[in-house]
Amino acid sequence: MATRADLDHVRELMALATGDEKHEESSTSTLDALWVLYDRVLRVDPASPREEARDRFILSKGHGPSAYYAVLAAKGFFPEDVLAGFLEWGNPLGSHPDRNQVPGVEASTGSLGHGLALAVGSTLALRAKGSPDQRVVVLCGDAELNEGSNWEAILLAPHLHLTNLTLLVIDNHSSSIPMAPWEPRLGSFGWDVVVVDGHDQDQLYDALSSRPHERPNAVVADIPEGEW
């Protein structure tokens, strides 16, 4: 299990990636959830980022990826000094992640509302391969869930009994249309829903490491306004 020093180091790495301050809240609000995922939940190998047996993670919203990059670097997917060139010409780290340039990135995202359908397809593909234990986790922002494409996939995933799929919502209350209450909304589509404190790593771990047997699950990480 990670120490406080580990997380402090990730924050130092985030501080290297400057120039995207408009997305600072978007990035910082994902940090605890991303760290829990990569430190304690996802089965991934930085030395072999496309290892077939890995779990999949898709940062659907794409926005504010400096926390994502910092976590990937801290875990050894690429050298930490790459972060210092964030957004600079010739550096692979842009303000939206590119699967073809950044080791560990599963999907090129940034245009909102694409990642969840990709995750549904990836989960179906893993099922077709006969890989019942591998997980697919997709992170969406609360405002991203304004996009109608997400609600297509939210309707579809329970219908297909995608129990290996986890939708992680970072609700930092950035949506102009309040998206809560989550339980009745997502639950009515057939999702298993739990809302946790988005900065409480133990709550995040408990929610992200449990899997329902019948339905896909949604973990909503609530970040109170102004506390990102």
Partner: protein
């Protein structure tokens, strides 16, 4: 009885599903009845997502991310126009391969009205870099092209039509066939308008070249036949002028004149059969001949 292209698509895809465990098919209600055997045979690899076209493309790209050769199918406007950003980003930008197989373009289901027409589909897809566009002229050609390309690691738009030519030619990706030779002009015909174009060319001293491959286009094949100071006329079953950039690129080394006989660039607001629309839009035998003769007279 002649097999229609839509049925052939399902047959060939089902055969590929049976032979190759890396093939997956993603549908959005359209043609589900034709895939019943495939669904029964490989339920984990034949997915009907329902009426959700953005998710249709996203789910298919998710399969492609996992290494599957994905065949995605619905009607043309709902495959490449409505979810265009998914085509552009989920497949194109991510560098993923797959086959986007449509039916219904340009106005095959003519009683459905403009919401179901898609004469602009090929032009739209051509804006996505590194994408192939194949327009077979009959079921046999569709079968050949799908088998040739489904696992070639490229993104391919495969456009099935109700209209068909009388015979199948030896089509291939990137190939232009010389059907007949003449001296006044070179007529380049795409896909299912070949038979009617040949009828329209009766008595005209023109070469006729045929291709089912809009992209990649056989530039060398055209340059070899067109000769110096050529007049090249495209007969294209999509918006007129769509093929022009490819023709110009192929003949950039010689002064050339071009004309196009395609679907006029306007919304279609009439209802009726595809044949009635062909007549109205100048895409039947008489209309194609009239437009060819006009192009020849302008020279």
């Amino acid at each position: 009885m002649v097999t229609d292209m839509r049925t052939q698509l399902a047959r060939t895809a089902t055969d590929l599903l049976e032979r190759d465990p890396k093939v997956a098919v993603v549908l959005a209600e359209i043609s589900v009845d034709r895939f019943e055997r495939a669904i029964a045979m490989a339920p984990d690899r034949v997915i009907n997502v329902g009426i959700m076209e953005q998710t249709l493309l996203g789910v298919a790209a998710g399969f492609a991310m996992e290494g599957f050769h994905t065949i995605v199918h619905t009607m043309a406007p709902f495959l490449v126009e409505r979810p265009f950003e998914q085509v552009k980003l989920d497949f194109g930008y991510q560098g993923l391969a797959g086959t986007l197989a449509s039916v219904g373009a340009p106005y095959d289901y003519g009683t459905e009205g403009g919401t179901h027409h898609s004469p602009g589909d090929v032009g739209v897809v051509l804006t996505v870099p590194r994408t192939d566009v194949l327009v077979p002229g009959c079921a046999g050609e569709l079968d050949r092209l799908l088998r040739e390309t489904y696992a070639d690691g490229r993104l391919t738009y495969l456009r099935a039509s109700v209209a068909q030519n009388d015979v199948a030619l030896e089509v291939a990706r990137g190939r232009l066939e010389v059907v007949r030779r003449g001296s006044r002009a070179t007529v380049v015909v795409v896909g299912p308008v070949l038979s009617r174009t040949l009828a329209a060319c009766e008595g005209l001293d023109v070469s006729v070249l045929y291709t089912a491959s809009v992209a990649p286009f056989d530039s060398r094949g055209l340059a070899a036949v067109a000769g110096p100071d050529p007049l090249v006329i495209a007969v294209e079953p999509f918006y007129e002028g769509t093929l022009l950039p490819s023709l110009a690129e192929a003949l950039r080394h010689v002064p050339s004149r071009f004309a196009t006989v395609g679907v006029p660039r306007r919304f279609i607001t009439t209802y009726g059969t595809a044949e009635e629309h062909d007549r109205e839009l100048g895409m039947d035998v008489a209309g194609i001949r009239r437009r060819l003769v006009a192009a020849l007279e302008l020279g």
